[in-house]
């Protein structure tokens, strides 16, 4: 087991290096560069910029050098821990990302908690009382929940709040608090706003998790060890929780590692729709505008988190299920 983990850890930098090349290539793939989009934006809004100014900017940003030079410069910066400069915002990328990181994580953690608190008991109940009225209701809700893209849910909820309650539910703060320094009032304001995006983000995941939990548990409940436990005199709830539920949970817990990159992304699409100050919309803009160092850095961090997340999942699975631990040697 330890050998396996060590092997993965050793491969990590090589993998990241490979990914950095891929990521940079993708970001640079659209024809033109940042300045092309910049000039176009200026033109559409009426102002203009002279050709010399464009050339000067191009030299300043290093956009006139060949791509592999730009890539090397990025790598050089990265190795010194510098994520580069955003061409659009003219600020260090680390700053831009750092600002939004906290809010992104808060949202992700909340929706994760919501998902698990709702889904596991619902799945447990459903499996223990199959074909009951509540089970049918839950099944219908689950199917619809899985079928609904989460931005659709966001749209509908936002429209509902606006059309029927006159409340505008965008952003994470009320207008007064957006730029204000942190205070208890600001936190309260955040909590008032954050529950809706957390629920939206959590719904699809909850539906999926409940269904999987129910299916897993139903599989386990038929197994002989459950009969033995019952014959020993354990009460239903205790025996379900101690034995089949734990076995049913194992494959699910191993998916926790996948939440790590999600912690960072906080669902790009919902964030865009609801105008949340997340990393997601930042990436989107950077990709569209070809703000290459910003886009590249964010993508690379994602890749890193995905790899680490997968590793954590594997470790968790082995830790929870002794059969896997012993099989590895």
């Amino acid at each position: 087991m330890t050998r396996y983990v060590l092997k993965r850890l050793v491969l990590l930098p090589a993998l990241l290096f490979l990914f950095s090349v891929v990521v940079f290539a993708i970001v640079q793939a659209p024809p033109g560069d940042f300045l092309t989009t910049y000039v176009a934006t200026l033109a559409s809004s009426g102002s203009s910029i002279s050709a010399e100014q464009v050339e000067a900017l191009r030299r300043e940003y290093g956009l006139d050098r060949p791509i592999w030079v730009q890539y090397l410069k990025w790598m050089e910066n990265l190795s010194r821990g510098n994520l580069g400069l955003s061409l659009e915002y003219q600020r260090p990328n680390a700053e831009l990302i750092g600002e939004r990181l906290l809010l992104t994580m808060v949202l992700a953690v909340l929706s994760f908690v919501f998902t698990w608190i709702v889904a596991i008991p619902a799945g447990l109940y459903s499996a223990m009382h199959p074909r009951s009225a509540i089970d049918y209701v839950l099944t219908v809700v689950n199917y619809v929940g899985v079928a609904t893209p989460n931005f659709m849910l966001a749209l509908v909820l936002m429209w509902g709040a606006f059309a029927y309650f006159g409340v505008s539910v965008t952003g994470l703060f009320s207008p007064d608090f957006v730029e204000a320094p942190w205070s208890l009032a600001r936190v309260a304001d955040l909590l008032r706003h954050v529950w809706l995006p957390a629920v939206v983000l959590g719904v699809a995941g909850t539906a999926r998790l409940t269904r999987v939990m129910r299916a897993n548990l139903l599989d386990e409940l038929n197994k002989p060890y459950v009969t033995t436990a019952r014959a020993k005199g354990l009460s239903e709830w205790r025996l379900v929780v101690r034995y089949p539920a734990r076995l049913a949970l194992n494959p699910l817990v191993s998916t926790i590692g996948w939440y790590l990159p999600a912690l960072f992304s906080g669902s790009l699409i919902v964030a865009t729709v609801m105008n949340l100050p997340n990393i997601g919309p930042l990436l989107l803009r950077a990709l569209i505008n070809q703000d290459m160092y910003l886009a590249g850095s964010i993508l690379l961090i994602y890749c890193f988190l995905t790899i680490v997340g997968t590793l954590i999942s594997d470790i968790l699975l082995a830790w929870l299920d002794p059969r896997i631990r012993f099989e590895e040697g």
């Binding site: 197994k223 002989p224 060890y225 009969t227 033995t228 436990a229 019952r230 014959a231 020993k232 005199g233 354990l234 009460s235 239903e236 034995y243 734990r246 076995l247 194992n250 929870l320 299920d321 002794p322 059969r323 012993f326």
Partner: protein, 345 residues
């Protein structure tokens, strides 16, 4: 005669499936005297496992006990009808594991794969502590653990201190079965139900397990209901035998009566079909004609009549015979022995 530890009277367990009603157990009666081994024998699908599950009230839905009595006598107290108790009641849970214990069929699948075997036995000990040790201080973990080690030693598991922490899939078949027996006996039950305990092991291990069971039974005076399809095992273990077919008892009696003087055609056919070393070479193996009918397609009248070489035309296909005495302690349900019944309109 001492009162039986278990008295089953006219037990009926029906399964309410979408496709129809399956009468898995349809009027089964037998007694289990204290400290004795009663064997229930029959082919697959005869209802012996369901009977066992009914005693512990662990029949899975859509199955349900629909009639009959299961009287269980705990020492000198008046007997309790297990069939009347709700499956989830605390009273029943107190009996399960502590008074009546189960040795399930497949020890590998019957132990939880993610808990050590010792862990699962300690759980049983702690659960029923107040029943096998009514007074005294609370059981501590260390004490429970050392008790488990002793239990392992008493069932013949070598190196018990290490084996306590092992997982079931790390043990060999024989060791697993012994651990299972240890778990069943941990709370000193009055009645042990052994559900085909030797089916999943090889012949040598089977002999060891049977010896062990006999030894333990003698030592603790536990009554055993031994369920199997293997007539040879029954002959070794049981004092009293119940022969079942399609949910009904065909014949029951002492092991001598059943093996040396079988009365029911089904019992006779079963005994005849045991291959023997002593016949001439190239003799055809005797079989029972026909095959077991689909549970939904149960024949009218006596369930065995389509395959019975001695079926009485017009009678056996119309009515089902009742279980009536044919000897000192032997009973059979067959019209051949109860002509007066057959003659009734």
């Amino acid at each position: 005669m001492t009162a039986p530890v278990l008295r089953v009277t006219d037990l009926r367990v029906h399964f309410f499936l979408d496709e129809g009603l399956v009468r898995a157990v349809d009027g089964v009666s037998f007694d289990v005297p204290p400290g004795q081994v009663v064997g229930i024998v029959g082919e697959s699908g005869c209802g012996k496992s369901v009977t066992m599950k009914a005693i512990l009230q662990i029949v899975e839905p859509p199955g349900r006990i629909v009639g009959g009595q299961i009287l269980f006598r705990k020492d000198s107290a008046p007997p309790v009808d297990l069939a009347r108790l709700s499956p989830k009641s605390a009273e029943l849970r107190a009996i399960r594991g502590a008074e009546i214990a189960l040795i399930p069929q497949e020890p590998m699948a019957a132990f939880s794969p993610i808990h050590s075997v010792g862990e699962q036995i300690i759980e049983a000990l702690q659960l029923h502590e107040r029943q096998w040790r009514p007074s005294g201080p609370r059981l501590s973990r260390t004490e429970a653990r050392s008790l488990t080690v002793d239990l392992f030693r008493s069932v013949g598991i070598s190196m018990p201190e290490e084996r306590v922490d092992a997982y079931s899939w790390q043990l060999s078949g024989g060791l697993r079965q012994r651990a299972m027996i240890a778990m069943a006996l941990s709370c000193r039950p009055r009645l042990l139900i052994a559900d085909e305990p030797t089916t999943a092991v090889d012949v040598t291990t089977q002999a060891q397990i049977l010896n062990l069971l006999r030894e333990l039974q003698r030592r603790h005076g536990t009554a055993i209901v031994f369920i199997t399809h293997d007539l040879g095992v029954i002959a070794q273990m049981a004092r009293y035998v119940v022969v079942m077919y399609l949910g009904r008892v065909m014949e029951q009696g002492s092991v001598e009566e059943i093996f040396h003087a079988p009365k029911h055609p089904y019992t006779r056919a079963l005994l005849k079909s045991i291959p023997s070393v002593n016949v001439a070479p190239r003799t055809l193996l005797p079989t029972i004609a026909g095959s077991i009918p689909h549970p939904l397609g149960r024949p009218r009248g006596c369930p065995f009549h389509p395959r019975c070489p001695d079926a009485i035309p017009g009678v056996c296909a119309e009515r089902a015979p009742a279980l009536r005495p044919v000897g000192a302690t032997q009973l059979a349900s067959c019209f051949l022995y109860h002509r007066d019944e057959a003659a009734e309109p």
